[in-house]
Subunit: 145 residues, 2 copies
DNA sequence: CTCATCTCAGGGCGACTGAGATAT
DNA sequence: CATATCTCAGTCTCCCTGAGATGA
């Protein structure tokens, strides 16, 4: 007698939030030992894929607020996973770059994250996982613009 | 050049969180004028579908934490949308019931919520929306147990 | 005694706002 | 001048924990 009402179970916005809860719990558990959170991982990923970038660009690509980028970069820099340097070409900017340690750590995190995804999507077949990703991508892309 | 990295765009946990952001924004905007939030809506829905229930049951069905149920019921009671009454059969329990005003308000909220879902899923065809809901339901059900 | 229910106090994270300093 | 970047201070919602009081 604990079931959620049918109305909620048909509600995309409710389902997204409910699915995000175990997603965040699993990812947080995977990262726990490393002392990092999902924001850090997203930023490291951007740097690995796109090379050094300003904090503003980091925020835009990860969809993380400008305020939160400041704190997250502080924490990554403290662990020597990234370095902050003034941009000589535009002195408003800080250029953030991955260190060798950051690259190594990212590879470890990649494996942990993939493990969490597998647990999250355990009830879905490979084909269904791709469908889900494709559908979510389109929703996210639509609201990005 | 603001695109999220491909790695993140393939990551179910990241996509769920990114999709939940506009979902929550749209729903919050729809509810804004009513002075309610999504927790209130979930609880009203459970009461409408399953009849009066204890706060503990409300929490289980909506997946809202016991602590937050207390506050949310307070707020609904303040607006006279629900009433709290001691359960004569089990004096530990508060029985929460929808009022007539609560039923009316819920009907208004239903329409607002449906409008928000339509905006949220605008890029998807009807068939794709059903697919998404079906997939998310299975993920949520799996992690409920 | 054990277990469930209700309540309160409070931590932690993530999304977000406003404002100021600095530079383009 | 307007615009863009970085930073700080602080708000709000939501998820969650621990603990106490009451009663089954």
């Amino acid at each position: 007698m604990d079931d959620a009402p049918e109305r909620l179970q048909r509600l995309p916005s409710w389902l997204l939030n409910q699915a995000a809860i175990p997603a965040n719990r699993l990812v947080a558990e995977a990262f726990g030992a490393a002392g990092l959170r999902r924001h850090h991982y997203a930023m490291l990923t951007v740097l690995a894929e796109g090379g050094p970038s300003s904090q503003a660009e980091l925020g835009r690509r990860t969809m993380i607020d400008r305020s939160d980028v400041v704190a997250a970069v502080d924490e990554l820099a403290e662990q020597r996973l990234v370095v902050r340097a003034a941009d000589p070409a535009d002195r408003r900017r800080n250029v953030i770059s991955l260190t060798a340690a950051g690259t190594r750590r990212l590879r470890e995190l990649d494996a942990l994250v993939d493990g969490a995804q597998a647990q999250l999507l355990a009830p879905l077949a490979a084909r269904e996982r791709k469908q889900l990703v494709a559908l979510l991508r389109r929703v996210v892309a639509h609201h990005r613009a």
